[in-house]
Symmetry: D2
Subunit: 258 residues, 4 copies
């Protein structure tokens, strides 16, 4: 049985993480951390009385196997550093770590041969889509990406769409050719990343869908990932917890353990 | 049995039209016209010997029921005028008629109570998609359009995509609202027609697909038309020939007879 | 402003209905009914103190404009009869009314020229899909239906899929032709309704999607409805409340007011 | 430059192969074989005069690098045996070889360290779809397959659909769980292969599409392959010719060289 401490246990993702850990017989919720809570009674949060509630890292004297972090951009670097020092395998889903901070955490964990993961996206289908896109790009030289999100997402394209384009370009190592004489007064041909076109749809009714389409003479290949509920991320978290226990290094990106 | 003369009978579309008319027991190929052919022997073109071949309009002394035109932009206006004067129902698939020419032909045909049609697109599924989009637009206030064509199509968006946006806007009579603070450095949000976003994909492997997506709270409605072979247009031609025989006016657009 | 009493106000759908009515400036929540609640204090249910809570129909002495029913199969017939007698426009989303009960309610409401609706499905996109399928069936003679639901749905096909097949058959008035010599040992060709094949997919990750595909020579037309959140039904409820106020009869099925 | 002899050069696939080889600067059409042709003049078949036409294997005294076979089930085994004996790399697209024949050819080629391939399907996107399905099956435990073909295909399911199910089962090594109490009077749940459901759609307008859908909590992954023109197979043939020149063994299935 793998024991887990959850940082940011009462945020949106933290609550889903609590559900996951308490519902899985192979995991045990040892503790929950949030520097902003005042009560330290687990039952105040609907948790089993045996769970330790911490609002200060110094209170954590008995380390768990895994430190699962869904806290805040401001706190995550310090949390992860603490977890590694205590010998807890870090599984970090909180965004906001700089590349430099990531590399420092990686160096510290690797020196201790401590398995861990930092992942901006725990969606298994999104990560598989990216992996398959990278493989397909070797055989099919033309690709476009369409992503569909709810109308409240104000930035475009999605991080997953842009990452997918990066992986395709890395596999092809050449810009996809574009016709010189295209006529497109309205700008309908989408964003361009080294010749790979990216299109972003924003409509109510979507949660988060990502689609990459490859075309060749007389055939197309479409790989589409569709999210209907954010609980989908928890399947990736479960895989990650199990994987880091077997590893001796800290990896960045769920694709490295799938 | 409806008798038909085909103008432009040996072009790409003309040949498909010849196949359609000769294969349908309810139609009879009476004649075939092209001012540029020299031989007037039908068997030289693989046609039944009873079919009259014309290379001059003045040779056509016995009018057929229907004048089916897949000729050239330069000749179509004159052809259609001739057909109407002779009492033949015009079914015009040739592009290139100006709005003024269309209205003049319409006036002449209507004065004689002669049914006819001028249609830029005889694809039944494309026309149904546009009709349904217009109906849906009354109930679902947000829509985006994605069209997919082979990589040799150099203009974007497609005429069908733009027409679909026009019909949605006509039904809604208001611009779709756009967030003021969208971040889209790459231009992935597509072309804008009164708030309706249009995205154009160009990849080998596609012939011509058009898709309109409507979004509402917790649900989406997608209407997609997919063409795998240009012979698809012939179903619309067949509907048109049958319909013009029943009408007393000339309409513009297949949607008016569906 | 349209005043509304909600029956079954604290069930799953009832709660969503309460949210809809209180959030819409054109509606006013006048009362809430459930024979099984004991407290009659609105604030006990998080409602505005001005809302009347009823646990007995006889307490409802001031009728509202609309009676919105998301109660139980056992209570709905009596509720609806009461509402009509009091001159309240019934909007009934509760299932379980027999055809005979529906007709009796219809007769009573129509005699009073009271607009109302009984609808098994308030999803606007599902109803539009069915309408469009019926229209398309006149022009495209071959259709198949694929529906996708979560793995906990134990019955197949969905009611919407079967209704769609019925509407297509009603439009075509002939069985779709089937090849005599098909080889299909595994039973992959799906269920058959007058030659219209129906396929049911059951997988985690889906909420409720319905798709009808029409095929013709060289082209296909796909109409797909996708649900990501059950709140989608509330758009149809809103349309229904507005529509019944303008009508003098009781209709069955949302398609009759779209 | 790789020299190629094409067996079955004037069949449907053979003609496409001739086009491929003559249009590719890295390939050279050295000869063309068909035991049923009488004229041995290349220009009678629209080929360059330098191409040797053979109607008897014994005439082939100068072997080419590659033997590309799109002949007939009756002739292919003998052809392939001949090619290997002459040191030509076999690329076999003709169906009809028994498992025993395949193994014998494999043994002969491997003993000579001669690279070759026997492939029932040269569609690159179909093969990639199968590869990705096998990979995804490790992480996502529930899958269904939907295939779409033209209405003249009388057998169901397609070979590709069934192969995809086999690969998923091989990866999961367990039947997918099925609810015990499913109600499905019409048989809409499709064919069953170890718990993986297969659905076959037959409609005009489709050429050949294959789709595998994986579901997990709150998310789905769809991998879809769509064929619009049979020329698509030639991309796989090109890959195969290039690959066999680098190999020392004969493989069965395009997936082994992608």
């Amino acid at each position: 049985m793998i024991s887990v401490i959850i940082a940011g246990f009462n945020g949106t993702m933290g609550q889903k993480a609590v559900q996951l850990i308490t519902a899985s017989p192979e995991f045990q919720l040892a503790g929950a951390y949030n520097p902003h809570v005042t009560s330290r009674r687990a039952t105040d949060y609907g948790l089993d009385g045996a769970v330790s509630i911490y609002n200060d890292l110094q209170q954590i004297t008995t380390p768990a196997d895994v430190w699962l972090d869904f806290s805040t951009p401001g706190g995550v670097a310090n949390n992860a550093q603490f977890a590694i020092t205590q010998g807890m395998h870090p599984v970090i889903g909180t965004s906001g770590l700089t590349a430099e901070q990531q590399h420092r955490l990686q160096a510290t964990a690797n020196a201790r041969q401590l398995g861990g993961i930092i992942a901006p996206n725990f969606g298994v289908t999104a990560v598989l889509m990216m992996k398959f896109a990278q493989q397909a790009a070797t055989y099919l030289k033309r690709a476009e990406i369409v992503e569909y999100h709810h109308e409240d997402k104000l930035d475009a394209p999605s991080g997953t769409a842009l990452n997918t384009a990066r992986l395709i370009y890395a596999a092809q190592q050449a810009d996809e050719p574009q016709p010189s004489s295209e006529q497109d007064l309205l700008g309908t041909r989408g964003g361009d990343y080294h010749g790979i076109k990216i299109h972003a749809v924003r409509l109510p009714g979507f949660v988060a869908d990502e689609e990459v389409i490859f075309g060749g003479p007389g055939e197309t290949l479409t790989i589409k990932q569709s999210t209907t509920d954010r609980q989908s991320f928890m399947a990736g978290v479960k895989l990650a917890i199990t994987a880091v226990m077997q590893r001796q290094d800290l990896v960045i990106g769920l694709e490295n353990i799938l």
